[in-house]
């Protein structure tokens, strides 16, 4: 805000008048072509942010859009959750390794890559058949896979892509979009019972405390290696509120002590 009214207008007008006489930015395209080096191919480049982290989110959009399918990639997603791959299996080795080495036929050492675990595909094939191999039923299919395997293995995504014909990037996108789908195998599973008796005894607050500590919640897959679930039914004879760790009821857990208990879980050894 200037004290003299109209000063801003005058300055703006002066600016546009200077622009009026300034050299013009237009390039008359068909007559004047931009000066491009002969060897220029518009190569892809991985960009790093100012902290040195890769800006690539492995979203596969470039790979899905590439008309000649020359892009392959692998890496961790932004949440650091799992290893993903795009491209034919023989190109899985990381591209940052010297390609000459790979072309020589020798095995390329690949520190970052862990091959995804093969799974028993018979339950998956039953699920696929039940959904008529229809990619439009992707979400119910993925939910069924999670119910069957406890999480959604990368191998199942590959298999679904292979038999349903849907691009891997789309299936991967669907699987990562929804909060309740989990793509890593939970190391431990905490289940909270929410029957009427347990709710009256405070199981809802208990679940919130535990979820807050673990950074997750019931019905959400986000968080660390501990999954938080709802117990399907109350274990007969167990006292309320009922919390189970990998199926074993935990006695004597109070609302006040829940957070500390959960914090101990997150760092503790596998059951």
């Amino acid at each position: 805000m200037s004290l003299i009214p109209g000063l801003g207008i005058a300055r703006g007008m002066a600016f546009t008048l200077r622009r009026f006489f300034a050299p013009k930015a237009t390039i008359q395209y068909p007559e004047t072509a931009p000066d491009i080096a002969v060897r220029f191919r518009g190569r892809l480049q991985l960009l790093y942010d100012e902290l040195g982290n890769l800006k690539c989110e492995t979203c596969f959009q470039c790979a899905a859009a590439c008309p000649v399918e020359c892009i392959d990639m692998g890496g961790f997603d932004t949440k650091g959750r799992f290893h993903v791959h795009w491209g034919a299996p023989e190109t899985y080795a990381e591209r940052r390794e010297e390609s000459a080495l790979r072309r020589s036929g020798r095995p390329v050492p690949d520190a970052a890559f862990e091959h995804f675990e093969p799974i028993d595909e018979r339950p998956l094939d039953r699920i696929l058949a039940a959904h008529d191999y229809d990619p439009k039923a992707m979400l119910p299919m993925l939910e069924a896979v999670q119910r069957e395997y406890g999480y959604i293995p990368v191998a199942s995504l590959k298999r679904i892509s292979q038999v349903s014909g849907a691009p891997y990037a789309l299936i991967f996108g669907t699987a990562t979009y929804y909060d309740h789908l989990r793509l890593t195998k939970p190391r431990r599973t905490v289940a909270v019972c929410r029957c009427t008796d347990c709710l009256l005894a405070g199981s809802q607050r208990l679940a919130e405390r535990i979820g807050g500590t673990l950074g997750t919640g019931i019905g959400r897959a986000a968080g660390g290696e501990v999954a938080l679930e709802q117990l399907p039914a109350h274990v007969p004879g167990a006292q309320s509120p009922l919390v189970t760790l990998d199926g074993k009821p935990q006695a004597g857990l109070t609302i006040e002590g829940a957070a500390a208990w959960a914090a101990g879980l997150a760092g503790g050894p596998a059951a």
């Binding site: 600016f15 546009t16 008048l17 622009r19 013009k24 930015a25 008359q28």
Partner: protein
């Protein structure tokens, strides 16, 4: 087969055309000469006896014919100037430097479908653009372009101008109402609200000028400002000139007050349902309005046709009468100038043309250069010799300067909000105009103790 049909059968197409049109042209020329000789004098007498009527007809025709090229020039100016201020080049494909772009736009609009929505009030829908356009064009009737070059010197010229300018609102409302579209209606009402609001400070700001000039005749107002730039009313009435300029911007629907047709935000306001040449008339009216508002600003505050400084010398070219019998000698001189001028000017083209020009090419170029030079010389001579030419030149120069300012503002200023728009008119412009009016009135009374003219 007769001789005539045989000969006709042997003729080529060009020869047939010639055989048809040359006799026709001869007959037409003879008939024209005979008619002019026989009916010419009585017709001229008739015209002379009805001079005011003839003057009116000629003025209206001239103004109607003037507005379309004016609108084309303004549209081209706007495209080009705003482009330059955006660091672009602007239209440069159609015609030299893209000069025919706006004309092509005009033809495009003509070629489009003339659509009227179902349920539209047909008569009003058709008349609305006409009313808007004619309201703009009619105001030009009282604008004095140069000494003796004006449609009519009305003694209530200013009043006529604002009355006709006010009709624009009627046209916009008609367009909004008859379109059978709630958005059009809202747009029309919004433009009406804006234009009615801004007409009040616009008119009030002129009252001071009228008091100083002692007349509402625009010719008289211009005559009162003759002398030098210090005699212009902008010196005595700077506040009024500023108010007039701002209110006129809103009146012409120009940025930053172009709420009626904010082209980047709403569809087209009152003109949403209009297409083809009907829309074109609204569009033309808008640009004619810019010209008119600039012309009136120049007339009222910037001395109209008068020069900003006294012109110290004047030539008298009255001794030159091309219709005198002795003018044959001048024709010979002119022919010699044409031939020798072309020959003289083709020499540097041949010598320094940069590439090898053929004789015919360089002769053509030399002739073109001669034409440009001759036009400049003739225009210069007319400028010093004829009052009306000099006046027209000054008037047009000033008017187009303000047209440039309007376009410049459009390239610079952002659009105001509708409540800011109304608030500015009623809370700032109107009180300022009233203050200006009272101060002027007091000054007029004080400086004329014996009584007011």
């Amino acid at each position: 087969m007769s001789f005539a049909t045989r000969t006709w059968g042997r003729l080529s197409l060009q020869a047939r055309l010639l055989a048809i049109f040359v006799p026709l042209a001869v007959v037409a020329a003879v008939v024209t000469v005979v008619v002019v000789l026989l009916a010419g004098p009585p017709f001229l007498d008739f015209l002379g006896a009805n001079l005011p009527l003839v003057r009116f007809a000629v003025a209206v025709l001239a103004i109607l014919l003037l507005t379309v090229p004016t609108a084309f020039v303004l549209i081209y100016m706007e495209l080009k100037i705003i482009a330059r201020m955006n660091l672009r080049i602007g239209p440069n494909r159609v015609g030299p430097w893209g000069a025919a772009q706006s004309v092509i736009h005009g033809f495009k609009v003509l070629a489009k479908e003339d659509f009227a929505p179902t349920g539209a009030d047909g008569v009003v829908f058709t008349l609305a653009p006409v009313v808007t356009y004619m309201a703009s064009v009619m105001t030009l009737l009282v604008i004095p372009f140069a000494p003796g070059l004006f449609g009519q010197d009305l003694n209530i010229g200013v009043l006529f101008f604002f009355a006709m300018g006010g009709l624009t609102v009627v046209g916009l409302l008609m367009g909004g109402w008859s379109s059978f579209n709630k958005y059009s209606l809202l747009g029309g009402l919004r433009s009406a609200a804006q234009m009615v609001s801004y007409e009040i400070p616009l008119t009030l700001s002129v009252v001071g000028v009228i008091m100083l000039a002692g007349s509402m005749s625009l010719v008289r107002i211009v005559a009162e400002q003759s002398g030098s730039a210090l005699d212009w009313f902008v010196v005595k009435q700077p506040l009024a000139a500023l108010i007039f300029f701002i209110a006129a911007t809103a009146e012409a629907n120009r940025t930053p007050f172009d709420m009626t047709e904010a082209d980047s935000e709403i569809v087209a306001g009152f003109a949403t349902e209009y297409s083809g040449m009907r829309f074109g008339f609204f569009f033309f009216a808008e640009y004619v309005n810019v010209f008119i508002v600039s012309a009136l600003l120049v007339t009222l505050f910037f001395g109209g046709w008068t020069a900003p400084f006294g012109w110290p010398w004047a030539w008298n070219l009255n001794w030159f009468d091309p219709l005198r019998p002795g003018a044959l000698g001048w024709a010979v001189v002119l022919a010699n100038v044409l031939v020798w001028g072309t020959i003289v000017l083709l020499v540097p083209v041949r010598l320094f043309g940069g590439r090898t020009w053929g004789l015919g090419e360089s002769a053509l170029l030399g002739f073109l250069i001669l034409g440009v030079l001759a036009t400049a010389v003739i225009a210069g001579a007319a400028f010093v010799a004829f009052d009306w030419f000099a006046g027209l030149a000054w008037f047009m120069a000033k008017t187009y300067f303000f047209v440039f300012v309007f376009v410049w503002m459009r390239a610079t200023l952002p659009r105001v909000r509708v409540d800011q728009l109304m608030g500015f008119a009623w809370k700032w412009l109107l009180p300022a105009a009233l203050v200006n009016l009272f101060v002027t009135a007091a000054a007029v009374v004080l400086t004329n103790p014996g009584g007011i003219r």
